[in-house]
């Protein structure tokens, strides 16, 4: 465990899927200059790896240098002045293709339009553990600043040599190096011409402070936006290769079912159809999606099913099946919670339940696989291309270097596309058919055979003094996860524990992971405690908070919202919640309206303040923050996976309700730009506080406390 900002943080979230070890960079120097043409290339290398290569950090090395083995990002300036950045991160709607391009343009002093990014391609881009945990901005921003600065200095060095002057007097701007003393200038393209220069750099701090950014920090539009409004962007599911077949997999009737009898004679008799069976995997490849479905439907099977836990009993099951305390992954204790509880003027204990929910990205899992000469190429929308590559290599008993995974900009993931399911299926079918195969999951498959944000039970015991100061805080999370588990409030006596439970449904990462569940429990509990000591919600939180950044977002959100508000109509209520996670802060105020005659509840207005250090692209950030609030409303109000006998009972958009236009409240997003703090990621934390803010507003409106997510499953309906 390590310490960040004086706070204890847990190991990586178990539902984040553990990162694979570093791998060798496959591309050799002669290869990348062959692929990109001559020019200038700069790499960022892990410090240890650089030391091992005995290269002086920052020293230009022009000859005979092999590319380093542990590269995390690199940049190339071509003979035509084209700038290409390489990163293993994937674009899934979080707009990092734009924000990283801005950073490169800013530091290299080139127009934004001249930068392109090659992303998430296991042959062309450096190893990356995956696009998750809000890590892209905090890691890629400083790295690309370093490589861009180094490339700029290399170009200045070339110009200095050319003109036989000292480099110190030269200026780089607008993709040119100029000599102010003689009015000479050369473009980057001219300087790169005929060169094959490479340099390695250690990963260190960013070089240009945020106060001096010129391209970064601006609300630039999404790159390649035109391809999206014209429908010409090729998502994985849009790819069509010559001779490509359509794959379909036969799914068991329930989770854990095993095949007991099997007859594929009708499918095998169909023209152009390949049938594959391996253990319980049954799939077909056919010339059209229609024929593939017909072939699957013709296969006769019998299955042995297993008894399964249902959603009705899940919460008591999780408590009963928690692993022994000795197996806990996370425990944090300060003072004595027991003593703090016994000395409290008021005590409040409560239990909170959080349902399984689905990511439901609009582009379902998809993959296109092609084999040639024993090598496999797979296009798939995954957050972990290198882990997918390794899994494919292991399954098909080939070298990792024989597998190439390419991630086209993807139709969203939200933490839901870590695994390589569709890639494996497509590769298996393509191998058997001897032709490329595309597999696109149906919506029902996506809802059933992907994985879920895990359900959880959270037990809270708390004590508060008569003056409103917290005296004790005991917090137990069963199963849902460790993200955001620690209280940001000042409390001398606290015990926080995460209790592992064996998986019931297949579970994994989700935007914000367990931070939403943990913040829901904590901030709902804080609301109830404030009422117990008859204090205003904001005042009660401020009394127990010393973290200046948290106080700042609370002040900003409540100011914009007009907190405290007076009720002006029947059924109106106001709620507040705040939190910290993954380097960023959020505070959310919500207004909710309940129609008592119909029982409908609707969030009508939200003011959310968010702070993630220096903002790289305020327009992209605003899009993320507003989107997170709206997506978060689904899990807050009505999203829940129902299951029984190993079957998902609501695997359709008609029965699994997601937020639509009518659910959208009036939203004010207040973005605090802290240019003095390194940029943190922003894809997750803005989703955390809307659920407790909505629940607290519901209590304010009705006097009824809802301790379960989703809120409206408690006998109410969302309008």
């Amino acid at each position: 465990m390590k310490t960040i900002q004086g706070k204890f943080v847990a190991e990586p979230e178990r539902f984040e899927f553990s990162a694979a070890p570093m791998h060798q960079f496959e591309l050799q120097r002669r290869d990348f200059f062959k692929i990109l043409g001559a020019g200038i290339a700069v790499f960022v290398v892990a410090k240890e790896a650089l030391a091992a290569q005995e290269t002086a950090p920052g020293s230009p090395s022009f000859h005979n240098e092999e590319p380093p083995r542990e590269i995390s990002s690199w940049l190339h300036v071509g003979e035509d002045g084209t700038v290409t950045g390489f990163t293993g991160k994937a674009e899934m709607g979080q707009n990092i293709r734009t924000s990283i391009s801005q950073t490169i343009a800013d530091e290299l002093r080139v127009p934004f339009e001249s930068v392109r990014l090659v992303m998430a391609d296991t042959t062309l881009t450096p190893f990356d553990a995956g696009t998750f945990g809000s890590r892209t901005t905090p890691t890629m921003t400083p790295q690309f600043r370093r490589v861009a600065e180094a490339a700029r200095n290399l170009l200045i060095g070339v110009a200095a040599k050319e003109w036989n002057v000292a480099p110190e007097g030269l200026v780089a701007a607008d993709a040119k190096v100029a000599d102010p003393s003689s009015n000479r200038s050369l473009t980057y393209g001219e300087l790169a011409r005929g060169k094959s220069l490479a340099q390695n750099l250690p990963a260190e701090d960013p070089v240009t402070p945020a106060t001096e950014w010129k391209v970064a920090g601006k609300p630039l539009p999404k790159v390649e936006g035109r391809a999206f409004v014209t429908g010409s962007h090729q998502y994985t599911s849009d790819i069509r290769l010559k001779g490509m077949l359509y794959g379909k997999v036969l799914r068991p009737p329930s989770f854990g079912a095993t095949l007991t009898s099997y007859d594929d004679s009708a499918a095998k008799a169909m023209s152009g159809v390949t049938v594959v069976r391996g253990g319980d995997f049954v799939g077909v490849a056919a010339p059209s999606a229609h024929e593939a479905q017909k072939a699957i439907d013709s296969i006769r099977t019998q299955w042995k099913e297993m008894p399964q836990v249902s959603s009705k009993e899940i919460f008591s099951y999780l408590i009963k099946n928690a692993e022994p305390t000795s197996n806990e992954r996370f425990r944090h204790e300060e003072g004595s919670a027991e003593q703090g509880l016994s000395s409290a003027a008021h005590r409040l204990d409560a239990t909170y339940n959080v349902a399984y929910i689905a990511h439901a990205p609009l582009e379902p899992r998809a993959a296109v696989a092609q084999w040639a000469d024993g090598k496999l190429t797979v296009w798939t929308g995954t957050q972990r291309p290198f882990a997918n590559r390794d899994e494919l290599a292991s399954i098909f008993h080939i070298r990792e270097s024989s597998v190439r995974v390419i991630v086209p900009d993807t139709g969203a993931a939200y933490g839901g596309k870590h695994t390589s399911d569709a890639a494996i299926e497509a590769a298996r079918l393509a191998h058997a058919a001897g032709k490329p195969v595309k597999v696109v999951w149906t919506r029902e498959e996506e809802f059933t055979w992907a994985y879920f944000r895990p359900a959880g039970v959270i037990e809270v015991k708390s004590g508060v003094a008569a003056d409103g100061r917290l005296t004790a805080w005991e917090f137990h999370n069963y199963h849902s996860g460790m993200s955001g588990i620690e209280t940001p409030y000042d409390v001398a006596n606290q015990l926080t524990q995460y209790h592992q439970v064996p998986l019931v449904l297949r579970s994994g990462s989700y935007r914000g992971l367990a931070a939403t569940a943990n913040h829901f429990a904590r901030e709902t509990h804080m609301d109830a405690l404030a009422r117990l000591v008859k204090m205003d919600q904001l005042e009660f939180r401020m009394k127990n908070l010393s973290d200046a950044r948290m106080r700042a977002v609370l002040e900003a959100a409540t100011k914009s919202f007009g907190w405290p508000r007076k009720k002006t109509q029947e059924g109106q209520g106001f709620g507040l919640a705040c939190g910290f996670e993954k380097g960023s802060y959020v505070a959310t105020c919500a207004e909710l309206a309940v129609d008592r005659s119909s029982g409908n509840a609707r969030v009508v207005r939200v003011a959310e303040a968010f702070e993630c250090g220096a903002i790289v692209n305020p327009d992209g950030l605003r899009n993320q923050v507003v989107g997170a609030i709206i997506q978060g409303l689904g899990g807050a109000l009505f999203e829940a996976i129902e299951f029984e006998n190993g079957r998902i009972k609501n695997p359709h958009f008609a029965t699994y309700r997601v937020p639509r236009f009518r659910d959208v409240p009036e939203i004010e997003a207040i973005l605090l730009d802290r240019k003095d703090i390194p940029s943190a990621g922003a894809g997750e934390t803005p989703i955390m506080a809307i659920a407790p803010a909505a629940g607290n507003a519901f209590f304010d409106a009705t006097g009824t406390r809802l301790n379960d997510l989703p809120l409206v499953s408690n006998g109410l309906r969302a309008a």
């Binding site: 999206f228 599911s237 229609h290 139709g411 997506q631 958009f653």
Partner: protein, 159 residues
């Protein structure tokens, strides 16, 4: 059994040989290569596959190919004219009304359909009309802004 039919898409006529109950979506994507029209659910619940059929927005996953022979079809690829974006496409671009953008084709086609029958829709009318289109990234407020902006662009060009 497959049947030979003729359909008109974006002003061009195509002979297609498919079972009559095949959803139009599959013919557009797999046969004609018009992949701008997306599969999102196959159940008419998300709007990602929206096309214009005789000018009206329809879910192409719910329409059998045999039912469209008499009516011209417009897909997202058919909106751009001589390199100039349709005002609705331009408005989505100007408003940055997308994140992953997988829903964008369907949102644009539904909005074109709305503006053809209601040149100046009120907020509530936009919400009502687009209620069947899901943006899982939650970009709804910007989409509403884009539709309003498109209405202005179209009125401007009509003058």
């Amino acid at each position: 059994m497959a049947k030979l039919m003729e359909i008109e898409v974006n002003g061009k006529r195509y002979a297609v040989n498919y079972p009559p109950d095949t959803p139009l979506l599959h013919v557009l994507r797999d046969e004609l290569g018009l992949t701008g029209t997306k599969y999102g659910c196959g159940e008419g619940q998300c709007g990602a596959c929206t096309v214009l059929l005789g000018g009206a927005p329809r879910r192409s996953c719910q329409i059998p190919v045999s039912a469209v022979a008499a009516k011209p079809i417009t897909t997202i690829e058919g909106l751009e004219k001589e390199g100039k974006l349709h005002p609705v496409q331009q408005a989505f671009l100007d408003a940055g009304a997308f994140q992953c953008a997988y829903c964008t084709s369907g949102m644009v086609m539904s909005s074109v359909g709305l503006l053809q029958t209601n040149a100046n829709p009120k907020q509530e009318e936009i919400v009502q009309f687009l209620q069947g289109n899901i943006c899982r990234c939650g970009t709804y407020p910007r989409i509403i802004e884009a539709v309003k902006h498109a209405a202005k662009l179209m009125q401007g060009s009509a003058r």
